[in-house]
Symmetry: C2
Subunit: 390 residues, 2 copies
Amino acid sequence: MPLKNTCIVSGAQTKFGKLDGVTLREMFTEAVDKATVGAGIDKKDIQAAFIGTFIPEMLIHQGHTAPLLLDYAGLKGLPATRHEAACASGATALRAAIMAIESGFYDTVLVAGAEKMTSVSTNRVTEALAAAADDEFESSLGLTFPGVFAIAAVAHMEKYGTTEEDMARVAVKAHDNASTNPLAQFQKPVSLEKAMTPRYVAWPLKLFDCSPISDGAAAMVLTSTEKAKEYTDLPIKVVGTGQASASMNLSDRGELTSFEATVSAGRRAYDMAGLGPKDMDFAVVHDCFTIAEIIASEDLGFFEPGQGAAAVKDGITARDGDKPINPMGGLKAVGHPVGATGVKQAVVVYKELMGDAGPNQVDKNETGIVHNFGGTGATCVVNIMRRADA
Amino acid sequence: MPLKNTCIVSGAQTKFGKLDGVTLREMFTEAVDKATVGAGIDKKDIQAAFIGTFIPEMLIHQGHTAPLLLDYAGLKGLPATRHEAACASGATALRAAIMAIESGFYDTVLVAGAEKMTSVSTNRVTEALAAAADDEFESSLGLTFPGVFAIAAVAHMEKYGTTEEDMARVAVKAHDNASTNPLAQFQKPVSLEKAMTPRYVAWPLKLFDCSPISDGAAAMVLTSTEKAKEYTDLPIKVVGTGQASASMNLSDRGELTSFEATVSAGRRAYDMAGLGPKDMDFAVVHDCFTIAEIIASEDLGFFEPGQGAAAVKDGITARDGDKPINPMGGLKAVGHPVGATGVKQAVVVYKELMGDAGPNQVDKNETGIVHNFGGTGATCVVNIMRRADA
C-alpha cells in the first residue's frame, strides 16, 4: 500500500547532553513547546500523542510516562500511548502516529521522545540499557551493549578487513558535523589520532566508537495532507515506512555483519515509497557505535556489503559527499537519550528537507531516509520522507 | 469516524495465578499458540504484532519485549511493538492494532499481553507497580496503589454513602463468577462475611477488595472484515474505541469519585459506535480494586453517580442480572498480570459474544463493552464489540 496522507509540519529537539537539574518532564515540555507554539502550531490542534521512552522505570522509577509527560506539556486529557522498543522506541512511536493518521483516526498528532539518563550512576545506566538484550541468554551473563557491538565489529573486521581506523573515521566525521550543531552534546572536532586513543571499552571498540549517555527530548507534529496546508506551504511527506524484528539473542542470528531487521525494514520502506537506495539524497542512521553506522550503510543498500568503511574513508558519507550520512552528527556526537533518539533522527531529516539545517545543510535535499534500531537490531524502523515539491 | 474494518476472530488466555517455573516467554507463547493454531489460524497469516507488557524491566530485568516474545512464539521477524500504559498496556496495544487494520497497513495481526510478577518479592512488585504513579509527587512519598484507591473509596463513601460492605459485595460477585472459570487464579466462592474480614491493606480497602499479584498472558487475532470470512462465519466486530488520559497526580484531579478519563474514553467509544450505555448487553470493567468497578459502572453511564453500589446489592451486575459486569470474574478473582489484563478483558468480551463462555455465559450477548485503565485512571481505553449478526 502507498502512503497518502501523512505530513510532517514541525520538528524540534532540546539540547542533548548532561542536563543537570532538568527533569524528564521539563525537557519533554521544552521539546513539545518548540515543536508546537514555537512553530506556530496551537496546542489545541493536537488530537493525540505517541511517545517514546525506553527505560525511565529503571532510571527514574517512572513508568506510565505518556499521560504524565502530556500533562506537563499542557496537553492533558489527550489519548497518549508510550511505545518502547529499546533504542527504537522513538521510531515505533512515529510509526504508530503514521498509522493513526493514515487510518483517519486523527488529523494532527504529536510524536515525542525523551530520556533522562544522567541522574543515576553509569553502572546503573549500563544495567538499565542491558534490559534491551535477552536477559536469560545475554545480559544476565554479563554481555552488555558495547560487548554486543564489539562482536559485530570483530565479525566485520574478520570478513571484510574493516579496521579500527575505519571505525574511528566514522567518529571523526560525527564530531566534525556536530561541531556546528549547537544542540549537540559534543561540539568539538576530533582528530583521527585522538579517536584512535586506545581507551578500549570492549575491544575493538574504543571510547570514541561509542555514543554517550545523554539527557534530551525531541518532538514533532504530524498532520494529514489536507490539514498540512494550514500550517505550511511546504509540508514534508512521509512516503514510506517499514518495520521488522529479529531474534534478541545474537547467538540465534545467521549473520553478525549485517542486521536482518534493517534489511527487511528498509526493503519494506523502499517498496512502499516506490524508491530505492539511489534515490535517497542523504541518510540518518542509527550510529550507537561507529560499526553500527558502517553496517547500516550497507544494509540499507547504499554500499555493497563490506564497502561501508571505504565509503567513509573516501568521504562519500561526509556532509559534502555523494551520500551524506548523519549530517548533523548522529548519536555518536549529538548524544543518545534513548527514547528521544528515533524522534530526533526524524527531526534531522525534516530540518534537512526543509533547508533549515544551517551550517549542517546538505546540498541535495529532496528525499531523506531515517533508520532507527533497538537492541542489537532486534527491532528496526525505516522511514522515507520527501519534500512535497519533489 | 465510524469503524468499518476490524474484526476479532480468536482470543485466548493462559491460566492466571502463581505459575511457578513458567517464564514470561513461555506463557506468552502458550497464549499465542491457543489464539492461532489452537483456533485454526496459521501463524503465517499474522503480519504484525502489538504487545502489552507493563514493567518487565523491574520484575525480570527485561525490556524490548516485543521482538523477544515474538521470537519465542514462532513469529520472528514481524513488525512488533510493545505498548505500555501501566495497567492499560494491553488495551493500548489492542487500540494500536485497530488503527493498523483500519489504516490498511495490515489485514491480520496479533494482539497479546503478558506479565510475570511472582518471581520477585511482594515488596519489589509493589515498588514496580508504584512506577505507574507520579514518582515526584506520589510514589516517592510512599503512596502506592492500595493507598491511591483507598483515597477514591473514602471519597465515594463520604459523598455517596457507599459502605465497606458494598465494596465487599463486588468481591463476592467476582469470586462467584470465577468459581466456574477454570483459568481463574481463585476458583472458590467467598462469603460476604469472609470478604468483610478486617485484614486492612489500606483502610477502607481490605484483602478481598484488592486484585492479586499474578502471572499470565492473553492473545487475540484481529483481521479485516474481508479476511475474517476466511476464518469464521461469525466475526466479532470492533464498532467503537475511545482513549483518554488524565493527570497522573491525584492531587491535580477535580474529582476523586469519578475518573474523567473513563468518562471521556467511554463517550468517544459510544459516539464512534453510535450506541449508548443502554445498548451494552454486558460489560467487562477494570476492577483492580472493588471500588474501581463501582466507579467504572457509574462513569460508563450504566448507573447514576453514586448508584453503582446499589446496583451490585440489587444483583443488577450479577451474571444473570440486567447489566452483567465482569461475568467471568474480573481482575479481582481471575487475577491481574498487568500487561495481560487489557487483552484478557477483550478476550472475555469476545468469548461472551461468541457464546463460548460456558458456565459463565451471559444471556444477552449481541454487544459488549470493555474498559481498561492504567494508574489511577490516568490512561483509559474503552472498546465496544458486537456480533456481526447483531
